[in-house]
Symmetry: C3
Subunit: 258 residues, 3 copies
Amino acid sequence: MGLEAQLQQAVLLKKVADAMKDLCKDVNFDCSEKGLSVQSMDSSHVALVSLLLRESAFAEFKCDRPVSLGMNIDSLVKILKMTGPSDSLKIRHQSDSDVVNFQCEGSDDRIADFDLKLMQIESEHMEIPEQHYKVVAKMPSSEFQKICRDLKEFGETLQMSASKEGLKFTVQGDLGSGNVVLKPREADKPEDKVALTVHEPVTATFALRYLVNFSKAAPLCGSVELGLGPDAPLLVKYDLDSSDKGHLQFYLAPKIDE
Amino acid sequence: MGLEAQLQQAVLLKKVADAMKDLCKDVNFDCSEKGLSVQSMDSSHVALVSLLLRESAFAEFKCDRPVSLGMNIDSLVKILKMTGPSDSLKIRHQSDSDVVNFQCEGSDDRIADFDLKLMQIESEHMEIPEQHYKVVAKMPSSEFQKICRDLKEFGETLQMSASKEGLKFTVQGDLGSGNVVLKPREADKPEDKVALTVHEPVTATFALRYLVNFSKAAPLCGSVELGLGPDAPLLVKYDLDSSDKGHLQFYLAPKIDE
Amino acid sequence: MGLEAQLQQAVLLKKVADAMKDLCKDVNFDCSEKGLSVQSMDSSHVALVSLLLRESAFAEFKCDRPVSLGMNIDSLVKILKMTGPSDSLKIRHQSDSDVVNFQCEGSDDRIADFDLKLMQIESEHMEIPEQHYKVVAKMPSSEFQKICRDLKEFGETLQMSASKEGLKFTVQGDLGSGNVVLKPREADKPEDKVALTVHEPVTATFALRYLVNFSKAAPLCGSVELGLGPDAPLLVKYDLDSSDKGHLQFYLAPKIDE
């Protein structure tokens, strides 16, 4: 055999592909008995995208032996556009076949399937060292997206300053300078909360256009987690529904002040 | 006099014009005591568009003697954009006048009218031979539109294969090959049903971009009827609300396999 | 000090800026103890835009001495895009400072602020003579917008004819000629009413593209007031919620018949 995996909700992979498509072009989906994973630099080799879709995220999952399936993300997006909102999805790959088959099935007896030709993609496996972030911030993913989009209008570089009082986003540009300050807050819905764990205050600056692209993953999860450290890459992490299904993570190196 | 016709719902003609505008440029509306009809090749002379708006579709209908009113579809679309969602529409043409008048009236005492200059369009009357299709399929018009749009992403040619088991849409392209299979199904709402009448299995291929344009007529009717025969043009038929008001039909010659 | 003003609803200024942005580029916000006002010719020096935001429109308003704050409208639009739908807004300017600060605050402890660099804009103060219009018409602002947009499709010049029977909008173009007639009408909601005060019938013609731009102010107020006189500029007036908060007015010179 090879790989046979069934997602109850095709829309989960659809959101993942949508979130990756502005950053990555061709990527390897590494399949093993643990699930599917992707590690890829973005096209400009500045940011790192890391997907983990655990075996437990699937209704059924069989993978005889590890295999890397090279796909173009835009093609994957096109295929997953065929799915209806409540379709399930089967992903099948026979050992040594040069296609991977996606089959989506709705409640209405409509079956759509696609044989996608696989690509040979040079694999560049990167070890992501486990980081102990000085600051970990959780906030609503829609709010993070709005902040990135709004501030993108005014400049190209975003400064983040985190302390126990709050998380401050600052942009400087030709028109002037702007700030958004988020303070820790409780909320009825967990995803509306803003939570800050600060071992040490951190200030760092990042290229805004990557952050805008990362923040497009908002449909994946109601909240987003940021990890900050001095001179460390920024972590932007979205759980897939619940963290035990996996996650989509982005890493971005800070800009060094001249 | 000449022509005087009143539609209870201006939106019906609006949807018809919207459905024709990506296929036809200038067409003759042939008016007779039986109603309004259009027969026109599409701009590239590959597909045929056939509209019948029966006299019974109108709240009032008078037509003294047959007349052909040549109009540009884009102009008609602009005029009908003036109508509100619940407006009624009067169409008037005085014999020998070079304008046709459209008057829409809402419930709110707002009256909009437009005198559209008529065009001389060479009429190319085509006899459409009554076909006895080997396969007649009915399905939700929105589903047909989604299938055409989705598969258009992968290739230019669509193969349809109909048998008693179901109707299969297949596309082959650079990325791979895809299929959508619809099986006959019952549904609470008649327009959600998929029904197949198969006298003989048929397989034929068609240019997808025409099908995508035909399928834009979906707002006209909840369901669409496809007629297929070996070596016969494909029929794509939308009733206007109910079939006794008339219909909008598209015909497309199959692609011959090389 | 200088200026310190707080709006309960940031969205009010947001709508004002949105309504001005297709007409004006750089304008002076004249601040005095009476409130904020703008008077500016549009970029092509044909239409006049006049904003009055009365001191009473603000929850708090302090202005020590009159000052003109020159701003680019597009920049203001970008800043106000940062506001959430129920945010409040503080506008602050310290005497002799070259920035004006906008601070918006939501119910969720999110604070966004922006220091906008001020511009030196040559002030061209215009005296707008108090007019006694022969015709004053009130109508739903959305209806005025639809009429302007619909008729814009057919020509560049709009004729308005007002009499006690109604207000007629006429356009002539290559495709033909169109009219929309509004008659006085009562309605349950005051903003759905059409009311005409006619001292003397008036007919005048105006460039449609300005009217289309004026009509974009529709979100400001459910109804719009038109003032017409023979050979007088057309007045198009939107109250800011209620007339005691202020208004946004547009003036447009009539086209002289050749």
